[in-house]
Amino acid sequence: MSDRDEPPPAHEPPPRRQPERRPESVYGVGDDPDVRFSLANERTALAWIRTGVGLVGGGIALTSFAAFADLSTVLDVVAACACLGGGVLALYALIAWRRNERAIRLRLPLPPPSALPALVIGLVVFAVAIAGYALWSGSTR
């Protein structure tokens, strides 16, 4: 009888139980992928969160500057929209992470980044609004 066939000694501790991983809707399906894909998905979610933080920070800075320089309330409205847009992007980061991780585990094609067109359009509207305000306030001075 070879060493490989011997049963493990009685005093050997039982194998460590894998802690339950949440959310179950993600880790309960498919197989563990190459860890590089999971890490890349995690970094993508973080990049979306940072984009949201940038929008929120920009909105806060805008409303603070508008209050400091006693500018029009139009800027406060634009700032509120930027803040809310940033919050929506943070929520989207969670949804997209979950969706992508499921697709990776199930070996399915990755879904497209559906928030990207909305973000681009939102930023263009934001830029046009600020530029319009700058032109309008310049012409009425």
Binding site: P23, S38, A61
Partner: protein, 104 residues
Amino acid sequence: MTHVTQGDGGLQRERTRLAWQRTALGVVLGCAVLMLAAIRAREEGVVWASGTVGVLTALAAAFAASRGWVHGTPTPWRLLAPTAGAVMVLAILGAVSAVVRTLT
């Protein structure tokens, strides 16, 4: 199932850890900006709320850094959800702050 446990030529873990640090730094800075703006506008509730979110985020980031970081323990969701939640709280506070200034 394949795992990158040897070599890691792409420095995946370091890059992910740095991404977390950048995100935490962004949230803390956003909280600081909002808190300073609220102090100036004398909005006491926003000052406390933004300060609390900022301090909690900084403490969580410091705790995570001191423990070391191993991918999968805990799962990213356990950290992503509170971080995104902090950004959403910050967004609501910023929007409320801007709307209050519009109305007053």
